[in-house]
């Protein structure tokens, strides 16, 4: 490999990082030379972001060391890393939208004389940096907010160059770009490489990795899982390294019988999704982060608008599937309507949306259906408590009592509270967005058992998950979403982790 030829620009050796009891990284090595593009690949949650956060000074490693151009490197914060020449371009750009291009480029290192900012020099610095990128078309005086996403990204890269960066990390840089902009970005990366900058390129998309990188390094479950020269490795082999181990026996499967259709998507936005979900089955949607799965779920649930097509929720016993109930076609459905139709949704953002952290366990569980707790519009607290306590006992939620604030519970127990809301409402269709993300294994197993029991009892589940073993273990049918497009739902037997990942990352189209 290339390392023998010249010394690496930066090295990370034996890096370990744990959050509480969860080990995110264990003995991870990574070295990249100047003038080299190294792709860092791995599944969601494999530890790529944590590793890069350590490189960029946002996190401190528990063990292991780093060297930059041979000298020890241990940044205390991102600013120190930036001064040392390590720049990171995140998926979410970090620009000040109201400032001009040049003000953003020199942000934090403004040229000053006697405390006065020198706008001429600022403009010159910005112009030089943009010229180096081959983009004299971007005016230093333009407001950043008015630029296209691709141009904004260039401004951010120019900012990295303006402080003399030696290492550039690009985290999913193409997620907001169109095809032409992606090609331009790859040409730019080639120029940066020629200038001797070490580039780390993080991506889920195998075809991008193949197109842009010299070498690739795979992380899996927080450990090095191999690597090699990109040109010599077929896409399938890289995917194989990302997947690694086999799935375990965590996933129960009772007697399931497919019943009537309960949800039908007809050419619904985004991108004309078509899908039918029946009672008695779990339908999974696989895909990478940003593929549009969450948006699809949210439009089904009325949290985002359905711009075209139809989302039809079958009445519990009523009309045959395909006859849209008139109330739904007349105006856009709201979450309120969906709950009344017997559809419940679990949000992927537990803290931001799924739960009101300041409220009690009982309030969070019963908010969608307070009607049983009293005459008229009164809520009798003792009845509300009693109902919540039943679910606390049934699901083994660890809390002082149903009156405790949800914020004080552990992640797994919080998630069980959110799930209990769907049970209390007794919904027929459960729309679950990443139901087991970031929770302990015991809680996961319990949620899996619960899902299986529910579909065995003729409920239906629509499951979005980034964890492929979970989808393969739990689902009856799986559809893959890639770049906003939902593929056909196929029986789980026809899928493997490998084929799901190939489909999701667009590798199938590439090879």
């Amino acid at each position: 490999m290339a390392e023998e030829v010249n010394a690496p620009r930066f090295e990370m050796l034996g890096v370990r990082k744990a959050f509480g009891a969860t080990v995110a990284l264990e003995a991870v090595d990574l070295a990249v030379c100047g003038g080299e593009v190294c792709a860092l690949v791995g599944q969601n949650g494999a530890g790529k972001s944590t590793l890069m956060a350590i490189l960029a000074g946002a996190l401190a490693p528990d063990a292991g060391g780093m060297r930059l151009d041979g000298a020890p490197y241990a940044p205390r914060d991102p600013l120190e890393a930036r001064r040392a020449g390590v720049a990171m371009i995140y998926q979410e750009l970090s620009l000040a939208p109201h400032l001009s291009v040049m003000e953003n480029i020199v942000l934090g290192v403004e040229p000053v004389r006697r405390g006065i900012v020198q706008r001429d020099r600022m403009r010159a610095v910005a112009r030089d940096a943009l010229r180096e990128l081959g983009h004299v078309d971007i005016s230093p005086d333009a407001a950043v907010a008015e630029l296209q996403p691709a141009a904004q990204q260039l401004v951010e890269i120019a900012r990295a160059l303006a402080v003399g960066c030696r290492v550039l990390v690009l985290d999913e840089p193409t997620s907001s770009l169109g095809q032409a902009d992606v090609r331009a970005l790859f040409a730019l990366i080639a120029r940066l490489k020629a200038r001797g900058i070490a580039v780390v390129y993080i991506s889920h998309f195998i075809e991008e990795v193949k197109a842009v990188s010299d070498r690739f390094v795979v992380v899996r479950d927080g450990r090095n899982a191999g690597g090699g020269v990109t040109a010599e490795t077929p896409a399938g082999e890289i995917v194989g390294l990302m997947i690694g181990r086999r799935l375990d026996d965590l996933y129960p499967r009772g007697a399931r019988a497919r019943g009537d259709a309960i949800l039908r998507l007809d050419d619904a936005t985004p991108e004309s999704a078509a899908l039918t979900v029946h009672r008695g089955e779990i339908v999974g949607i696989a895909g990478l982060l940003g593929a549009g799965r969450t948006r699809l779920l949210r439009s089904i649930f009325g949290l985002e608008s359905v711009r075209s097509g139809a989302v039809v929720v079958g009445a519990s016993s009523g009309p045959s599937p395909g006859t849209p109930s008139s109330s739904l076609t007349a105006r856009a459905a709201t979450p309120h309507d969906r709950w009344r139709e017997g559809v419940g949704m679990l949000s992927e953002e537990r803290a931001g949306e799924g739960l009101a952290l300041g409220l009690s366990v009982a309030d969070n569980m019963t908010l969608t259906r307070l009607e049983p707790f009293g005459p008229a519009w009164i809520v009798v607290p003792s009845r509300q408590r009693a109902a919540a306590t039943r679910w606390v006992d049934r699901l083994g939620i660890v809390c002082r009592d149903a009156g405790q604030r949800v914020a004080e519970l552990s992640g797994g127990n919080q998630q069980k509270v959110a799930v209990a809301r769907l049970l209390h409402h007794d919904v027929d269709l459960l729309v679950l967005d990443e139901p087991t993300r970031g929770i302990d294994v015991a809680s996961k197993a319990q949620i899996y058992r619960l899902m299986d029991e529910l579909v065995s009892g003729q409920k239906a589940v629509l499951l979005v998950s980034s964890y492929l073993p979970e989808l393969l273990g739990m689902c009856d049918r799986i559809a893959v979403m890639s770049r906003g497009r939902l593929g056909p739902a196929r029986p789980v037997e026809e899928w493997t982790e490998h084929s799901l990942l190939m489909e999701a990352s667009g590798a199938r189209a590439a090879s």
């Binding site: 979450p335 931001g352 799924g354 739960l355 009101a356 908010l367 009164i378 009798v380 519970l409 992640g411």
Partner: protein
């Protein structure tokens, strides 16, 4: 994930801090009330707690209290209403106008409440339909409603015929049972009704949910637009009732009255444990908060302390209460 971990950690690390926070949450304002009362009791002597003196305080604080009941609901829902002072003024003007027009006292009071409710509904509609933050919307309607009150009254104080409305805050001398002015009883009844609404109705639970996390409330099917319009309408109606109390005290319709009252009202809610971030607040706390301010006001004047001392003390207490609020939220 990081957030969940942080929550886990703080629970393990600082159970005692959490317990202290919870204690202050529920009882802090009552402890504060007892402290302030004890200080002035010690300075002035036992006559400070004489029935007549307590009633004086109650009469002084009735206007703030009634308006603060509505403000409590608004703040629980994560909003704010700066227009209450102006609505109080409008309410005195509308009451006086209707009385001068020859309408009965009951009609005049109803008219005033309707006008206040209309102003509140306007707040709610603007906030939800234009998606402008409550602070800005009610800052605008504060001026708008004040202007309307001045326009309606031709910028004059309006004398009005004497009716039973003028007796709301007067102690009954007849000796026929009711010792305390009816206005205080009305305030107490309203307080019970609002406390019940907040704690024991679906509407109340929805207000807490919206204030605690609007996104969660939306996910859970709470109809946010209509709930918000309802809460601002109620707040406007309660502000108008406070205006009727003010009319009773002044016995004229005055478009310039209650200037800056909204700040006293917000202060009462905040001292009482309401959080400007929403999701917290209680009627008991708000009443206690208003009582603390009334005690300071009357205590200072009876102690012969000048007005500026009273203002400094009240200001310090507000800042201290908000600092406590921040600490609780951490």
């Amino acid at each position: 994930m990081d957030r969940a971990l942080a929550v886990d950690g703080s629970v393990g690390r600082a159970r005692r801090v959490v317990a202290a926070r919870r204690f202050l949450d529920e009882r802090g304002v009552l402890v504060g009330l007892a402290l302030v009362a004890a200080v002035f009791g010690a300075l002035i002597g036992p006559q400070f707690f004489a029935a007549a003196n307590l009633e004086l305080m109650a009469r002084q604080t009735v206007i703030v209290c009634v308006a603060a009941l509505g403000m409590t609901m608004v703040i629980v829902s994560g909003g704010i209403d700066l227009s209450v002072g102006s609505i109080v003024a409008l309410s005195t003007v509308v009451t006086a106008l209707l009385l001068r027009n020859g309408d009965g006292a009951g009609v005049a009071a109803l008219g005033a409440v309707a006008a206040g409710a209309l102003c509140g509904a306007l707040n709610g509609v603007l906030i939800t339909k234009l998606r402008v933050v409550p602070f800005i919307v009610t800052l605008g309607t504060m001026l708008l409603v004040r202007g309307a009150a001045k326009g309606l009254s031709d910028e004059r104080r309006l004398e009005a015929p004497i009716t039973w409305l003028n007796d709301l805050l007067r102690t009954a001398q007849t000796g026929r049972g009711v010792l305390v002015p009816s206005g205080i009883w009305i305030t107490l009844a309203l307080a019970v009704a609002v406390a019940f609404t907040l704690q024991y109705t679906r509407f109340g639970r929805h207000l807490f949910a919206i204030g605690s996390s609007e996104r969660t409330a939306r996910l859970c099917g709470v109809r946010i637009t209509r709930t918000k319009i309802a809460v601002y309408t109620l707040a406007g109606a309660l502000a108008a009732l406070a205006g009727i109390m003010a009319f009773s005290k002044l016995s004229v319709g005055d478009p310039t009255v209650a200037n800056g009252l909204e700040l006293d009202v917000i202060a009462a809610v905040i001292i009482g444990g309401g959080s400007l971030l929403g999701g917290r607040g209680s009627v008991v706390g708000t009443i206690a908060g208003a009582a603390i301010m009334a005690i300071i006001q009357i205590g200072c004047s009876q102690q012969g302390l000048p007005n500026w001392v009273q203002q400094i003390v009240t200001g310090a207490i507000i800042v201290f209460a908000v600092a406590l609020d921040r600490w609780r939220q951490r």
